[in-house]
């Protein structure tokens, strides 16, 4: 199989994570987050290279969602630095709305707007944020819906769609803005098992199209098949990271082993 990540024509002798050639798309360093007395992130570093798919795993409550939400400032870190696509997210002068449209986010609960059709969900930001006219926005939305396999559902309301279809609309809503990176927070956890495959297929096609992605998920099969790197978090810290073969095949840390063992049951 051809390694998709190879950007340099040179010999693919890499075994570990590919060397980061350009500046990373996401560069979070020393992230701390407190919720009142609760210390949720305790100095996390995360760098995501262009076209890389980073998978974040870890027990519930370990801070995965919080880390992801810091990457588009839905949560503001207590301290640390986050650079996304060259822009300092925590700089007071940063126009956060301008940065956010370059960072797609997909949520566990889909979070579609129930009073709008699938197309309406996708066009809202195209029109209000990017200032596109109705016709152009509709065109872009229909193309995005086609990419997630829902071209014929453009006029359906969220309540008329299955969970899997809703999540694909949510993905279309994000990719229509042509983000530089996509953040997925347990995108399949709320789905009935038979609907998971469709969403993962869409994610795989995005990845094949070269999208940079950070995915928090328990779909270990998907991680094995598609991830470039797996990050294991526990208690607000990155415990271990490496290519999937290493993390799943020969984890170095006892905590990682314990977590994976308990997943098998």
């Amino acid at each position: 199989m051809i390694r998709r990540r190879t950007r340099v024509a040179a010999e693919p002798v890499m075994t570990g994570p590919a060397p980061i050639v350009a500046a990373p798309i996401v560069a979070a360093s020393g992230i701390h987050k407190h919720f009142g007395a609760l210390h949720v992130l305790k100095g996390v570093d995360l760098a995501v290279a262009e076209r890389e798919l980073v998978f974040v795993i870890g027990p519930s409550g370990s801070g995965k969602s919080t880390l992801l939400r810091c990457c588009n400032r839905l949560e503001t870190p207590s301290s640390g630095r986050i650079i996304v696509d060259g822009i300092d997210l925590l700089d007071r002068h940063t126009d956060i709305n301008a940065v956010r449209r370059r960072i797609g986010m997909v949520f566990q609960q889909f979070n579609l707007y129930p009073h709008m059709t699938a197309r309406g969900n996708v066009t809202l930001a195209l029109r209000k944020v990017l200032g596109k006219g109705r016709a152009e926005a509709d065109e872009i939305a229909d193309a995005a819906l086609a990419r997630v396999g829902l071209a014929e559902k453009a006029n359906a309301y969220p309540l008329e769609l299955s969970g899997g279809q809703q999540q694909r609309v949510a993905i279309a809503r994000a990719i229509a803005l042509e983000p530089r990176v996509m953040l997925f927070d347990e995108p399949t956890s709320a789905l009935d098992p038979e609907l998971v495959g469709g969403v993962l297929a869409v994610m795989r096609s995005l990845r094949e199209a070269g999208m940079t992605m950070v995915v928090v998920s328990h779909e270990m099969g998907f991680a094995r098949a598609a991830a470039d790197r797996v990050v294991f978090m526990d208690h607000g810290l990155v415990v271990e990271e490496g290519p999937p073969a290493q993390i799943f095949g020969a984890p170095e840390q006892e905590r990682t082993r314990a977590f994976l063992r308990q997943l098998d049951h």
Binding site: V99, R100, F107, N111, Y113, A125, K128, V129, A174
Partner: protein
């Protein structure tokens, strides 16, 4: 029986009074047309402000809303009407009524809309913000349309109360329907104009009562 009809449904009297009753009706409608939009606009403002959790916004807002909901509207109106001239402000009966209604009804509309806003799941707001929509755009396009729909029966019901409440303007001599009916009654020594006014109020409000009833049925069916 004839005497009863001559007393309460005296056609002659009602015919004679009808021009001033009609004037009263127009004044009442004008009052509604001013008070309801003002109240809703103020209510939207109060509800949107309530999204800010900052204590400097939150506590004054709670105090404001509580005060005007607890203060009897009739007392408020008399207070404004009697008090403003002492403050050197002359705005006439209609202006006083408009201010009084704005203060009172916007607090009620505000509380209704706030409940509507709070009924919208936080996740939708986060999704909207994650696509780059500003807080104001998210409120305008995502939250408010759904919030209004969720509390529509309450909004209609409150509007009904506002329309009924316009009759208190008669105490500051604003020539609305009730005031005019009482004028006619005192001139003719016959209560028929009051009866006519009551019938007009009923005919005016009844369609909204029906609408409300249907909305409430739908709201129950949606659950």
């Amino acid at each position: 029986m004839d005497e009863f009809i001559a007393t309460f449904f005296n056609v002659e009297v009602i015919r004679a009074a009808s021009p001033i009753l009609l004037q009263g009706l127009w004044m009442t409608l004008l009052l509604v047309l001013v008070a309801v939009p003002l109240g809703i606009a103020g209510g939207v403002l109060l509800a949107v402000l309530s999204v800010f959790r900052h204590p400097a916004v939150r506590w004054p807002l709670i105090a404001w809303v509580d005060f005007f909901r607890a203060f009897p509207p009739l007392v408020l109106l008399v207070f404004i009407y009697a008090g403003l001239p002492f403050a050197g402000i002359e705005i006439g009966a209609f202006g006083c009524v408009a201010i009084g209604f704005f203060l009172n009804t916007s607090s009620y509309y505000g509380e209704i809309l706030r409940a509507g806003i709070e009924s919208i799941p936080r996740g939708q707001v986060e999704a909207a913000r994650s696509t780059g929509l500003s807080a104001a755009q998210t409120m305008t396009w995502v939250v408010l349309p759904q919030a209004v729909r969720n509390v529509l029966p309450d909004l209609v019901s409150n509007t009904l109360e506002v329309v009924k409440l316009t009759s208190i303007a008669s105490v500051v001599a604003l020539p609305e329907l009730l005031f005019q009916a009482r004028q006619a009654q005192s001139v003719t020594y016959n209560p028929s104009p009051i009866v006519a006014a009551a019938i007009i109020y009923f005919l005016l409000l009844w369609p909204f009562v029906r609408l409300l009833s249907r909305l409430e049925h739908k709201a129950v069916a949606r659950r």
